[in-house]
Amino acid sequence: MSQQQPEKRGATTQKTGLISRFKMFLHLHRLEVRNSYVGLIKTPIATLMTIAVLGIAIALPAGLHLMLKNASTVSADWDGASRFSLYLNDSVSKTDAEDLVIRLMKRLDVEEAVLIDKQQALDEFQALSGLGDALYQLDENPLPQVVEIIPTEQFSLPEASEAMLGTFKLMPEVAVAKLDMQWVKRLYYLLQVVDRFIYALASMLGLAVLLIVGNTIRLAILNRRDEIEIIKLIGATDAFIRRPFLYTGLWFGIGGGFFALMIISGSLYWLSDPINQLAIQYNSGYALLGLNMTEVFQLMAFSALLGLSGSWVSVSRHLKQINPSY
């Protein structure tokens, strides 16, 4: 029998230096990045399908965001063109009104001033209000003369507009002066609603991405159940076992983000021609906006984060259920 006393030995006594441990750590991570990538490539169809689903889920809110961004740009263009409506006193004659328009046109802050006389106003009102012939029953035209004013560009900003409105109100011919911002405000609030809607949709689809990645990782874990049991028996920590799955999730996130970018650029390319035609019809130099560098980066980072967290949740849940036995 060999009962001689051996020197103290064992893994606990064999410490490796800190730097070489760190090097090994990096080496391991590089290896895992590569291994998880190779693992995904081995099953190309399944991987592609998962990535496509993730890509669509990510592309939807991102595409809507892009639509919103374009709509905001368009509304911002219009925002500048705020209009004033000056409702004139009844005592002002048509010639006085025409004089007023000429005087207004000379102002530096006025780009254009147009007189809408009583008859024009009535015709317009008749056409738009749907009251039709009923209006002819009136003894006289109750509508005032209106001067519509478009300010020059530098006076279109909210503060300058307010100041102009003040001076218009003080003119003796003017009964009421109004700044036509109502519809701009409405559009603004509508866009706010759409914005919220996109956030809600993005949260739901983000959750979908989490679940899809989580489920895919769950299947991967179950597939490698034996392997996980074995390396647990050998002394692998949970962190070690978790690592390849986290990288797989990260790859899914990055792949999904990239796929989403492709969907978005494809759609933009597909839409750009008709939109340009439309813009030409409106004499507008408007061009469709794509995602800028920051947005591309945000989208990729967000997708990667979703992939990583999806796999994290899944791995933490399912790893606990695998306990080795023999």
Partner: protein, 222 residues
């Protein structure tokens, strides 16, 4: 190195797998653990490797009271125990080299160091030329030797073997046993569960016999 102080294990289904076991395996000692199937051999090994925890009593391994070890610390306890299984438990999608390197990779050893130690371990079990093969290309005896190389590659002070020769013919079994003797000669403590009584008898080592979860005999060879 390993000691059981009045250890009992009752599984959740109410089965008493071990009853009041008192046993010590000294540093550098090699012993066989025998008994019929269901006698509690595997349970005893599982308590040492923390696959199961004792219901009562204390298990000490390498100076650690296992009932005080948290789940998070379990991997570090297992790294000091080389485990060998009847069904080898190899990863079949990795080469022989990668299988043997696994314990070192898990520990985060330097990869040059890994290369050196893996080759040394494979040399020891006589498989140096087969490091690039997949386990499936090897015979049963060779697969078991890969498992043994994996168990010793990080030089653990303790080796546990659960029916290591269960699927092997007598000649291969004798080869495996002679490997165990060689490890023992350099100071490794070994506890080998086996019901191959004729083999154990020829080996002339201490033999611990279990029956129905209790210690039936502990001493020289049966």
């Amino acid at each position: 190195m390993i000691s059981f102080n009045n250890v009992s294990k009752r599984y959740e289904n109410g089965h008493d797998a071990l009853k009041h076991i008192n046993m010590t395996l000294d540093e550098g000692e090699m012993a066989f653990l025998t008994g019929h199937s269901g006698a509690g051999k595997s349970t005893l090994l599982k308590l040492i490797s923390l696959v199961e925890r004792s219901t009562r009593g204390e298990v000490w391994v390498n100076g650690n009271n296992l009932s005080k070890i948290s789940n998070r610390k379990i991997p570090y306890i297992r790294r000091d125990i080389g485990m060998i299984f009847q069904d080898h438990r190899l990863l079949f999608d990795r080469t022989v080299y990668e299988n043997v390197a696994l314990p070192l990779v898990i520990e985060g050893a330097d990869h040059r160091e890994i290369g050196k130690r893996v080759r040394a371990a494979l040399d020891k079990v006589g498989l140096l030329g087969k490091e690039k093969l997949l386990p499936i290309m090897l015979s049963g005896g060779e697969q078991q030797r890969v498992g043994i190389a994996r168990a010793v590659v990080n030089k653990p002070p303790i080796i546990l073997a659960d029916e290591p020769t269960g699927n092997l013919d007598p000649e291969l079994s004798a080869e495996i046993m002679s490997l165990f003797q060689q490890f023992n000669q350099v100071g490794v403590s070994l506890l080998i569960a086996s019901h191959d009584l004729s083999l154990i008898a020829r080996m002339r080592y201490r033999t611990v016999t279990l029956k129905g979860g209790s210690l039936l005999a502990d001493g020289g060879s049966v």
